[in-house]
Symmetry: C2
Subunit: 119 residues, 2 copies
């Protein structure tokens, strides 16, 4: 039962699109990630995914609409729903999702992070 | 896939110790709660629980130690671990835990909120 400080965790790395695990509970991971630029369209077959913006602005594109998330705002993406995250400027995000969720979902490419670092 | 604004959710109610559900995913609930004063010692038999302080300061007492959480800090309490939350001044907290988790855990008393409001 240690104190997990989000700012401290975010200040400990610089990579983009590389989620780091900061907590695990009930088979779920809490992750922090820094985003900049465009990510691929993808979906998660079995996992709902929560994006929570801590700093900056994140646009989540869906096939039929887009939502813009600013600091203190979150969005749940149900499993199977295609999405494309875009950050025009650097943003910092918390993810809640089941342990084992791949960042690229149904895709396996050079951006896939299959072994997540715990920080 | 709507935008969930945490400040807006927190500004929509005034009760203390009454968690409100703001999102559900993978059988888990994201809740907001306002805390002031002392809560009972309790534990959750089957659920790990995450406390994340948004505003203010929360002290989590355990039988062998205490941790103080300020804004931007979180703590995971594993199932079966007794804890007693204390907020000397009002604080605002996000909870992440399985749907069905009772606020009073193993206790059932006048502070138990068995039917959670979704906001």
């Amino acid at each position: 039962m240690n104190v997990i400080d989000i700012t401290e965790k975010l200040n400990s790395f610089n990579q983009y699109w590389s989620p780091k695990v900061i907590a695990e509970l009930n088979g779920q991971h809490v992750k922090v990630v820094k985003l900049l630029g465009e990510f691929e369209w993808h979906f998660h077959e079995h996992e709902d995914e929560l994006f929570w913006v801590i700093r900056g602005t994140l646009v989540l594109h869906f096939r039929d609409k887009s939502v813009e998330l600013k600091s203190g705002q979150m969005c749940v993406i149900p499993k199977t729903v295609e999405h494309k995250p875009v950050a025009k400027e650097e943003c910092e995000v918390i993810l809640f999702e089941p342990a084992g969720t791949l960042n690229t979902g149904n895709l396996n490419n050079e951006r896939t992070v299959s072994k997540l670092e715990e920080i």
